[in-house]
Amino acid sequence: MTDDLEHLYQTTYTAVVRFLYRKVWDAERAEDLAQEVFVRALSHRPDKPRAWVFAVAANLARDEARAAVRRRRHLTLLKGDPIAQPTVTPAADDTVEHDEQMASVQEALNVLTPRDREILLLWDAGLSYPEIAAQTGLAVGAVGTTLARARRRLVDAHDRQNSDTGTNAAHS
């Protein structure tokens, strides 16, 4: 039993971090949350650990997003007071290109509806159709339809973006 969880940890930890990262957009935070997920799995011993792990990860990411919104709101409430902006560390040149590539995919991902995005990310994290269906409340038969739409939209949005920037560059 312990071995099951350990095996799951070895095989899915990276996938869970990546899944969380695509939601919180902070590598360190994603790792913290992923560890939290497995610590909880160890004390809860769920029946279907793989699906459970991703369900909890999705919940944590959602809470995290809410907390972030709340923090922002509080800080803007106090706008009248002197608030120093957190300093941004300048990125090295080679990471800039990577960041741009990432940003363009991120933007394309934002074009999807939340549900389509969730299902695409769960699939990419390695969940099966039945697991995705169980977690999202979708019928198993509808997972394929949703994935078909999500993939098409992601690629289209990304291509459109790139052709836009291409035209802009040509004009300037």
Binding site: V17, R18, L78, A84, L120, L147
Partner: protein
């Protein structure tokens, strides 16, 4: 002959179909060029999606060992048990303090007034609701709260019997003198507040020692300090609200970083206000963790949450450079906002 719908081809390529469905699709594909082309298009689309998403990956890092996570999980389980015990202790402390304070008010009214007036600038006592007919006399000892050394505290009286309290396994044996009991319950009280404040890294809970007045280093651990000790440690005035009794001062300090301070104060209505000051990342993490664990205890454990005294919905934070000042408490956000503004103005004027 019907062509294969696109979503079915997605499911086929995703290997999500039954053996029979696969056979059906494959036999159709063998003869139908149009569907073959569609399949190839979808296969390419699938690959592109995977490639695009692969860009959205965090920088690779070393994953912690499974063993270390197991240890953390063990600690969480035992901390959960401790927390439940701590709640019982906190409740008994409230009773003890209430009775004791009531007794001292009844028996030594003059003395108490002197103490209160001479220390009006320094927050010293619990705002206790007097109980009308206390049956036992419980002394208030200075271990209960941070009191300045020169403050004339209500003189401890020897009690006939200890207050009705529960004992933990490691508590000292009961004696006729109630002072050890008060010390025990104050520790339990600290533990309960700790559990409320810092539910995630539960390691601190299990390793928590009785308070140390000296400036010993505890990387990443919470320490409870006296008011003077904390002030000495911080080397500057602590963030607090003037005029409210201070219940507890907690400090966490990692090496070479700014200490994270939490000052708990009580309003006359009994609500607890916590002022948190530290580096912006620490404070916001503390706030967000607290929120997370609230949700956790409600949703996952299905039990009532321990953190009832803290509702992170009622938190107000202000960032000044890399420092962050936050107030939490179950108060309307307007009040919190006014408090934090005033505190900020005071701290800047000093």
């Amino acid at each position: 002959m019907r062509h294969i719908p696109e979503d079915e081809l997605h499911a086929y390529l995703d290997q999500a179909l039954s053996r029979n469905q696969c056979v059906e699709i494959e036999s159709h594909l063998a003869d139908c060029h149009s569907c073959q082309a569609t399949r190839d298009g979808i296969a390419a689309l699938r690959d592109r999606t995977t490639a695009l998403l692969a860009r959205l990956a965090p920088p690779r890092s070393i994953s912690p060992s499974y063993e270390s996570l197991r240890r953390r999980a063990d600690v969480v389980v035992s901390a959960r048990r401790r927390r439940m015990r701590a709640v019982a202790w906190a409740a008994s402390l409230v009773v003890a303090v209430g009775l004791g304070y009531g007794a001292s008010v009844l028996h030594r009214p003059g003395r108490v007034t002197t103490a209160a007036s001479s220390t009006s600038a320094q927050p010293t006592t619990f705002a206790a609701k007097s109980s009308d007919t206390p049956r036992t006399l419980t002394p208030l000892t200075t271990t209960d709260r941070p009191v300045r050394q020169d403050t004339p505290a209500p003189a401890p009286r020897t009690a006939e019997s200890s207050p009705p309290t529960v004992r933990t396994a490691n508590a000292s044996p009961p004696t006729a003198d109630a002072a050890p009991a008060a010390a025990d319950s104050s520790r339990a009280h600290r533990e309960s507040v700790l559990a409320v404040l810092d539910p995630v890294p539960a390691v601190e809970l299990t390793k928590l020692d009785p308070p140390r007045e000296s400036g010993e280093e505890f990387g990443g651990m919470w320490r409870t300090l006296s008011w003077d000790g904390a002030q000495a440690e911080a080397g500057k005035p602590l963030p607090h609200i003037d005029g409210l009794p201070i219940m507890q001062v907690q400090v966490q300090r990692a090496e070479g970083t700014r200490p994270l301070m939490v000052v708990a104060q009580q309003l006359t209505s009994g609500q607890v206000i916590r002022t948190i000051e530290g580096s912006a990342t620490d404070v916001s993490q503390l706030l967000s963790r607290r929120q997370m664990s609230d949700v956790d205890s409600v949703q996952l454990r299905g039990t009532t949450r321990v953190a009832d005294t803290i509702n992170a919905d009622h938190a107000m934070a202000m960032q000044l450079g890399d420092r962050m000042l936050a107030i939490t408490g179950d108060l309307p956000s307007d009040s919190l906002r006014a408090m934090i503004r005033r505190m900020n103005a005071e701290m800047r004027s000093k």
